[in-house]
């Protein structure tokens, strides 16, 4: 049940407790429905282009130049942000930052709601964040904010996001960008 939040207060109920699991290989998840990847990609692009303060949250797997795939993804994500008219705010590590995060410029899985509230973000994409921390963050975001979350995942996807696509590598990101460009044109943005 990864419908749009806020889901009142506590991170419960979480999506798996209503039978929602990660999408099967070759498919994607949109709210509670298993859909084709392209359908989800179009919807993610549409929501990002039509929501206030749409933001991309890149994580450590793409922020740092630790292998060639990460370097390719960095270039693609930058392009993605331009196509979607989105800001980028990094989740550069996962520590509970002390004394507190600067919500204007960073996001952290231990307090993701601060960044979302401070910047009044109504739609976001998590990409390159390790799955455990993405899931911890997504549950809190859904329970405490009305932000639409999309998770672009290199592994199995995230059922606690409103939209998730899986097995996304640089080739798939390029495809998403093309679809986003089409949607942008259709919307006249």
């Amino acid at each position: 049940m990864a419908n749009l939040g806020p889901a009142y207060y506590s991170p419960y109920p979480v999506a798996t407790y209503d039978g929602l699991l990660t999408p099967p290989e070759g498919k994607a998840l949109l709210l509670t429905d298993i859909v084709d990847e392209e359908v989800a990609m179009r919807e993610i692009a549409r929501v990002m282009l039509t929501s206030e303060n749409a933001t991309i949250f890149p994580g450590p797997q793409v922020l740092y130049a630790w292998n060639d795939e990460a370097k390719k993804k960095a270039t693609l994500i930058k392009e993605m942000a331009e196509v979607l008219n989105a800001k980028m705010i990094p989740m550069y590590d996962y520590r509970p930052k002390y004394p507190k995060i600067d919500a204007e410029v960073e996001i952290n899985p231990n307090h993701p709601n601060l960044t979302i509230w401070h910047n009044n973000i109504k739609a976001c994409i998590f990409i390159g964040v390790h799955c455990h921390y993405a899931n911890v963050a997504l549950k809190i975001v859904r329970s405490e904010t009305d932000c639409y979350t999309a998770a672009i995942c290199g592994l199995s996807g995230h059922e606690d996001a409103m939209a998730t696509i899986r097995d996304q590598h640089s080739a798939e990101l390029a495809k998403f960008i093309e679809i986003a460009k089409e949607v942008k044109q259709e919307l006249g943005k």
Binding site: L63, Y64, A65, A74, Y98, P99
Partner: protein, 289 residues
């Protein structure tokens, strides 16, 4: 290869915080120049430790900074921590570290070291344990000594403040006899446990007791301990890092307290096996110490 995990993709440089940029540009990762790292880096180089919540003037915090500055190859160093005041600094260390339960730090470190040797037979990856006196000597004594018996190639550092400080000031095995703390309202009944001597009889190749009053001394001891652990076996550093709060001192009196103890309970103790001594001589020739 491992330093690349700190390199920022150029596309994102303008959205990253200064601390991360500094870690890439101005920190002293060893790379090929182990000899260059040291205490003098603390003046103007980017430190591996960020802001943390320990008390102003805490000697543990100072000691950790000396240790991090002295690691020979920080980008290939894993530190295993245990519950206590030191745990409050650990999320803010720019290395891969582990915090796991209480007392099992040497067990976890043994598993990590053996696996890293198995997975990376051609690389040197240092595994260091850093924990308080409660974790090392009381709740963890079994696991600490057993890792020495097994000759695990790990450096164990005990930050001894002679008390369980993080839980409010209870007596520990490392408290001196007669000291009054919580749970010892009539004063501690038995002597301070000589962990540095137990380390020797348990098989450590190198065991040292000192205070953190002199940064370069701490750095030298740490460097020696890690180099010996790489080649020969377990090494132990017993470091006095008093809890100024629990012994009623002011924020700027920690250094004075350590200097006093240099002449008393924490007067120098050093044990080095002949093999370790010979190995250190070789390292000195290569400029590694």
């Amino acid at each position: 290869m491992s330093v690349d995990i700190y390199k920022i993709n150029p596309e994102f440089r303008d959205i990253m915080p200064q601390e991360i940029i500094d870690l890439e540009d101005n920190a002293t990762w060893a790379g090929e120049s182990v000899e260059k790292r040291g205490i003098s880096d603390l003046t103007d180089k980017k430190e591996i430790l960020e802001e943390h919540s320990l008390c102003a003037g805490c000697p543990e915090a100072a000691a950790l900074r000396y240790i991090l500055a002295a690691l020979p190859t920080p980008e290939e160093t894993i530190i295993v921590n245990s519950t206590g005041c030191t745990s409050l600094m650990f999320p803010h260390i720019a290395l891969h570290t582990v915090h796991s339960l209480f007392g099992n730090q040497n067990a976890v470190a043994s598993g990590i070291k053996r696996t890293l040797e198995w997975r990376f037979p051609d690389k040197v990856k240092d595994v260091v344990v850093l924990a308080g006196d409660g974790a090392t000597i009381d709740i963890g004594l079994d696991y600490t000594l057993q890792s020495f018996f097994r000759q695990e190639k790990i450096t164990t550092i005990c930050f001894d403040n002679e008390v369980y400080a993080n839980t409010g000031g209870q007596e520990s095995g490392s408290t001196p006899k007669g000291q009054v703390f919580k749970m010892a309202p009539k004063g501690k009944v038995f002597e301070k446990v000589p962990m540095w001597e137990l380390a020797v009889t348990s098989g450590c190749q190198y065991s040292v007791k000192l205070t953190a009053s002199a940064p370069k001394k701490v750095a030298k001891v740490l460097r020696e301990a890690i180099l010996i652990a790489r080649e020969l076996g377990p090494t132990y550093i017993h470091l006095y890092t008093p809890c100024i709060l629990e012994i009623g001192l002011a924020a700027n009196e920690g250094l004075w307290e350590m200097k006093e103890q240099d002449k008393d309970r924490f007067a120098d103790f050093k044990f080095v096996t002949p093999e370790a001594e010979a190995y250190l001589k070789e390292c000195k020739k290569k400029g590694l110490v």
